[in-house]
Chain length 206, copies 2
DNA sequence: ATCCAAATACTCGGATCCGAGTGATTGGAG
DNA sequence: CTCCAATCACTCGGATCCGAGTATTTGGAT
């Protein structure tokens, strides 16, 4: 997909799987459960369908391998996977590359902001205010979780850096929103006519 | 895909198409050309394949409609699309919603940061430094474009807010990276043993 | 002892995405 | 006048994604 995608497995979920299998072998369902328990599903989009696809892809690539397929009781058998030496190496490579070279991403908010004009000054302010509220709430939650984890003493800070990053980005967004709302309300961001829809064009001159 | 995706057309590229057709009718190829010219391909992931799919989806949804299919010379005929009344209404709705309610997104960097530990202190610092360099360059470019556009007097600031937002987020990321690098180098972010791979485990005691 | 909700473990097929191809046409160099 | 590169305009099929469904089993309340 991205242009840097001659990589064998592209779905980031693969990274999570690799990360987990590096600790100990597991079968897909157990992987999903563990990831959810650790709140990794805030970082990776985790759906059952994709999980099984990704696991298969990792196996094809030789980064993990199937061990025995165990059957407990008469439930569907579970195929237990473990990471390979290659898998562990590629895991590190992958993380390294994702950090070194920024991927172009296309956040939905960015696309919407590109058309902010169409909401008109009041509409824009209203929508931005609502978003700000929601982002603030989300940030509160993020921060709460972070403090809780840290204070429990169970989780070293190193394993929480991604939470710190998230919070930071949320704060930046919040800051920007507040600023732009301020600009709009103070009339520092002029609204060309023609724009701003809902039918009633702002009726300029000529 | 996201859970708020009972929406008829989900690909944000549809927003761009709607935005363009709101100005004047056009055929897909022209739409692509126009979007690229305006640098919208930094905001929307634009590929020919998806474009034609999205246009078809928008038509199915009744947000745009095909007009005449014109043939200039003997080239493949071009199907010219124009927006419908419904389309214009939905466009506004869509922008409004994208702004009001933050979509959960899964930036690749975030997933990588979750496993920063595995690079070891020096590896992490090196990778983060390289990223910082690249992000700084990208930000420089973003900012340059912004100034250029503004000073040309052709484009009102309202149409550049998304560039300002982008730059802001890049700065936030940069800030966070610098801070974390500082923390690592000052030893303020301790590295539990066991972590940090490449085979040579940091050889603790016992 | 019985029943239902939750957990276990996955499969399947539709929807979407997207890059690589296809083939015609125009512009301009020589 | 001829030829090639660039542009025009799109199609196609493989890869991926993902939610809804399937089927079993355990645990606990009644």
């Amino acid at each position: 997909m991205g242009e840097n995608d001659r990589r064998k497995v592209s779905n980031p979920l693969g990274l999570a799987v690799l990360g987990l299998l590096a600790e100990s072998p597991a079968h897909p369902h157990a992987i999903a459960a563990a990831l959810r328990e650790r709140g990794m599903d805030r970082v990776f989009k985790l759906t059952t369908g994709s999980l099984y696809d990704v696991v298969r892809a990792l196996e094809r690539a030789g980064w993990i391998e199937a061990g025995e397929t165990v059957r407990v009781g008469a439930r569907p058998e579970r195929t237990v996977y473990r990471h390979t030496a290659l898998g562990r190496k590629e895991f590190v490579r992958w993380v390294d590359e994702l950090i070194r070279v920024p991927a172009e991403e296309y956040p939905k908010f960015l696309s919407a902001v590109s058309y902010l004009g169409i909401l008109g000054p009041e509409g824009a302010v209203a929508a931005l205010r609502e978003r700000a509220g929601r982002v603030r709430a989300a940030r509160e939650e993020t921060l709460g979780l972070h403090r809780e984890m840290l204070e429990s003493g169970e989780v070293p800070r190193l394993f929480l850096v991604e939470v710190e990053y998230s919070a930071r980005m949320q704060e930046a967004e919040l800051g920007w929103i507040e600023e732009i709302v301020g600009d709009i309300e103070a009339g520092r961001l002029s609204w060309p006519d023609q724009v701003a829809g809902t039918g009633r064009t702002v009726a300029g001159d000529q």
